[in-house]
């Protein structure tokens, strides 16, 4: 279902979506972050790449699993905590970040369904905004099976036509929230459609960065486990968690019991994000660490995204958002690393 929404009518539509919790990009000094919005005025759809992707809304950095308390001598009381029933809309989702959600679906679905993830996932409506021009100089979505106007993972795709949005509903969830704005939307004319298509085509031309022959990389990586290549590439790595925490597809986590009182014991079991870049990520209880240095951790990041994930799910675990490149404090550039992998030993 294709519709047109004027920019003037956009705040009115948002007001009609009150039963939903709404997240949207909001400016915070020099960066954009998704904020819980109570008034449409807080929404800034003229934004560059958000610091964190919509991943942080569906797979929050902190998730409470259960609460426990020893109420009498013998039996501890355990209460499961599930995410609240809270239909949510996320505005301004970039196509790369929406595609990333579909990759996380594979991880949290499959053999075992993660109830916490799916509770949030199912009640969240992702409203995308086509990129025009690409929001970061390091965007490379076209190289990893994406595009600045990809619909994958989205419930609605909006395209900015200047004074109005071309709004395409892509799912039942999307249709439902369009219907809440009945009367605000108009039918697109043939010229609107043409304009939208031109904007999409132009945006593709403006994506500046590309990975050449990406298909050659997964088989190449198979033979590079013990290569000294990783030592050289990781020399400048600082071992921080930026590349993985900012990544819309990285999904590793840790589970800890946080104790608030010891006698009688009381606390919560909590899942938090974790990253292969931290020294304690693979630390064994014996004291042995199979990934003892930064070279082995960089190798893990690259191999997970471009070999293991491909083997397991037939997709690259990267959607080309460019965050890990733009935010790396020392300029480690995943495109350069992959270029070198492809040409290594040739």
């Amino acid at each position: 279902m294709d519709k047109i929404l004027s920019k003037k009518a956009f705040p009115q539509w948002v007001k009609k979506l009150q039963p939903y919790r709404i997240y949207a990009p909001s400016r915070d000094n020099g960066i954009w972050i998704y904020k819980d919005i109570d008034k449409p005025e807080g929404i800034d759809l003229d934004f560059l790449t958000t610091a964190l992707s919509a991943k942080a809304i569906i797979f929050p950095q902190r998730e409470i699993f259960l609460e426990f308390e020893q109420t009498n001598e013998s039996v501890p009381e355990i209460n499961e905590v599930l995410p609240k029933d809270e239909p949510t809309i996320v505005f301004g989702v970039r196509p790369c970040d929406a595609k990333a959600v579909t990759l996380m679906d594979k991880v949290f679905g499959g053999d075992f369904e993660d109830i916490y993830y799916w509770k949030r996932r199912k009640q969240t409506v992702l409203v995308g905004l086509a990129c025009s021009p690409p929001p970061s100089p390091n965007c490379f979505c076209l190289s990893v099976e994406g595009s600045p106007h990809s619909k994958e993972g989205l419930d609605i795709l909006m395209t900015d036509l200047g004074d109005r949005y071309y709004t395409e509903s892509l799912s039942k969830k999307g249709e439902e929230i369009l219907n809440l704005g009945k009367g605000l939307f108009t039918q697109p004319k043939a010229e609107d459609k043409k304009k939208k298509e031109k904007i999409h085509a132009d945006a593709e031309k403006q994506v500046k960065r590309h990975i050449k022959d990406l298909k050659k990389i997964p088989p190449k990586l198979q033979g590079m486990w013990d290569s000294p290549f990783w030592d050289d590439e990781a020399m400048s790595c600082l071992r921080c968690g930026i590349c993985t925490y900012m990544c819309p597809t990285c999904h590793c986590f840790d589970i800890n019991d946080e104790i608030y009182a010891s006698s009688p014991p009381k606390g919560k079991r909590i899942r938090t994000w974790d990253t292969c870049q931290f020294p304690d990520f693979t630390m064994h209880s014996s004291g042995h660490n199979p990934r003892p240095d930064k070279a082995s951790r960089l190798r893990q990041r690259i191999m997970h995204k471009f070999q293991y994930f491909v083997e397991n799910y037939k997709n690259y675990q990267c959607t080309g958002c460019g965050r890990c490149i733009s935010k790396c404090p020392v300029g480690i550039d995943i495109i350069e690393v992959l270029d070198k992998v492809r040409d290594y030993g040739a």
Partner: protein, 343 residues
């Protein structure tokens, strides 16, 4: 003016004469204007070295890596490592020497003077350029900065694009070095703590609200810790396994260890993390600004460290990282040290 050829020639000489294992310097990145750290092992590669106002990183952090790497090697190469440092970075070397983390003979210091300039602040630059991309930045004879973009050249004053710390810098040329490039004239700084004025004028309640908002953004990626040359502990209090575990460590011992901080990125834990970091840097921070530069959420971390630097100065007359023979602030005392603030 620093002539980068002089730096390259000296690098070539010490590599050729096998005086150093390798040289840590700056090189142009393949993508974008900002340089990346370079590790030059052979004299034929010295032309990769660059020097300009975008050479922002504090490369002293890599001496910490070098020490760890050397420790793992059975027969380590005992030669020093060459490192390119600015004034602020050289103060980090002084602190590492004072604390005996490294020895003077472990490092060959290629000191570069910032003269009357400094390094740029990427956020200020982005604001100034309003969407345009800078290709190069140079400083002219008059001290003005020339930014080249595709659309033409823009001239700006230092104040408009230099990092705040450079405007308050008391070490515009290295305080310790083996070879110095550029001149040795101290830059006059009226008030090295001026950037604190605004925050200090706020009430306690307002400051609390300010930090609560700022630290709530923290995602605990620990980039501030990772970029800091002073954060060199093998075991960090914030890691979930923050003590040495060996095959002999019993389950009871592991269970009995105190967890000082939880992994949850919530207000209380974020505060603990940032307070621990700030306190551990009191009297040690040399204001290289790396913690704030690397923060992906733009948390103004420099304020915390700058405030403690001011306290050390006002209470004990102590300036970190100027004299390698002076003991460090927190491991020494004088009879006349004030104590009226101890309650």
């Amino acid at each position: 003016m620093v002539n980068v050829e002089d730096l390259r020639n000296e690098a070539k000489r010490i590599l050729k004469e096998e005086k150093v294992k390798y040289i840590i310097g700056y090189t142009k990145s393949q993508n974008g204007m900002m340089p990346t750290p370079a590790f030059i092992k052979e004299s034929k590669d010295v032309d990769q070295l660059i020097w300009n106002p975008t050479c922002i990183h504090n490369l002293v952090k890599f001496l910490v890596d070098e020490k760890r790497r050397k420790h793992r090697e059975k027969k380590p190469d005992e030669r020093p490592v060459g490192v390119v440092v600015k004034g602020c970075d050289s103060r980090a070397i002084v602190v590492l020497l004072q604390e005996k983390f490294i020895n003077r003979e472990d490092v060959y210091i290629l000191g570069v003077s910032c003269e009357n300039g400094g390094v740029i602040d990427e956020k200020k630059l982005a604001k100034k350029l309003k969407g345009k991309t800078a290709e190069t930045i140079t400083q002219d004879e008059k001290g003005e900065f020339v930014i080249s973009t595709k659309e033409g050249k823009v001239k700006v004053s230092g104040e408009e694009i230099l990092a705040e710390r450079c405007l308050e810098c008391r070490a515009n040329y290295p305080v310790i070095y083996d070879t110095l490039f550029g001149n040795k004239a101290r830059k006059k700084v009226d008030d090295p703590f001026k950037s604190l004025d605004k925050l200090e004028s706020l009430s306690e309640r307002e400051r609390w609200a300010f930090w609560k908002e700022q630290l709530s953004k923290c995602i605990r990626c620990y980039a501030c810790r990772s970029a800091c040359p002073m954060c060199y502990c093998d075991e960090c209090v914030v890691d979930t396994i923050n003590f040495a575990v060996t095959a002999d460590t019993s389950a009871e011992e592991k269970a009995g260890k105190i967890k000082w901080i939880e992994k949850s990125p919530i207000s209380s834990e974020n505060f603990v993390y940032h307070m621990v970091r700030a306190m551990h840097l009191a009297g040690r921070c040399i204001d290289c600004g790396e913690c704030e530069r690397v923060c992906p959420l733009d948390i103004p971390l420099r304020f915390l460290n700058k405030k403690l630097e001011k306290e050390a100065k006002e209470l004990f007359g102590y300036d970190a990282g100027f004299d390698p023979d002076e003991p460090s602030l927190v491991s020494s005392f004088k009879d006349e040290d004030p104590e009226d603030f101890i309650r």
